[in-house]
Symmetry: C2
Subunit: 147 residues, 2 copies
């Protein structure tokens, strides 16, 4: 068990990287990458939140967040609220072109999930999501208590 247990991090690392490769390829036609599409998904559920708020939700550092938001604005996928100069705090919104491709982004992600879970039962998938959700809560809890 100890041996198996220590695989957990390696598995998460590797799956993360394979997922990145897939998404980079699948979203190339929208000029999006594994680093940027998540900003659109977060905004699609929380229009009007700030760049700093997105950083927190995605747990990415502020510099990376700034670069991604800048790129997404240049691509015409994100716009900022009127009369706001400082983009760290300003409200961000999806443009119509972002809204138009969000369903396609979700289709690509679901395709990938179907690929990697093709031989797992619904129960196994649900249990894995539950396990990973608990693990993420613990990771968040640890970070909070060590800030």
């Amino acid at each position: 068990m100890e041996e198996k247990k220590s695989h957990l991090i390696k598995l998460i690392n590797k799956l993360y990287r394979y997922t990145q490769s897939y998404i980079d390829e699948a979203l190339k036609r929208f000029n999006l990458s594994s680093g940027t599409y998540q900003f659109l998904l977060v905004l699609s559920k929380n229009e009007g939140i700030s760049q700093n708020e997105i950083s927190k939700r995605l747990n990415v550092d502020k510099a990376m967040s700034a670069r991604s938001v800048k790129r997404l604005m240049k691509l015409g996928y994100i716009r900022k609220g009127v009369d706001e100069e400082d983009c760290r705090a300003c409200r961000l919104y999806l443009t119509d072109s972002a809204k138009a491709i969000i369903p396609e982004i979700i289709i690509e992600i679901n395709k990938w999930i179907d690929i990697i879970t093709k031989d797992s039962s619904e129960d196994e998938q649900r249990d894995a999501v539950d396990f990973l959700s608990k693990a993420l809560m613990n990771a968040k809890g640890f970070k909070k208590s060590n800030l």
Copy 2:
């Protein structure tokens, strides 16, 4: 279920990033980061393999691999085989100082696994590792068939 299922990628992404933060902090005292320690672990089990072989095993691109190996050589953790000029193909070995810290790296990783799995039973952990292993095999299979 569809809703839960789509969380899988988000969970893997987020857990990956929390794990990176933890490891960056925990291995700072060895001048290692979440990007470099894995090279040492792969080498500890496969001394003498090449930089290209490590890239493949970790599924990282060759440029990133070259940067990491260069850094690890500079830090005195990796040495290359004698009489080998081209480091893409040359055999790599751990130095004694790398060998000395590997048990401590493993302790840190196991500490993190204990933190994120603290409220999961042994069975749940084993099932999650099995699920993620299958998912990784499918990801690898997909990549191979789409090269």
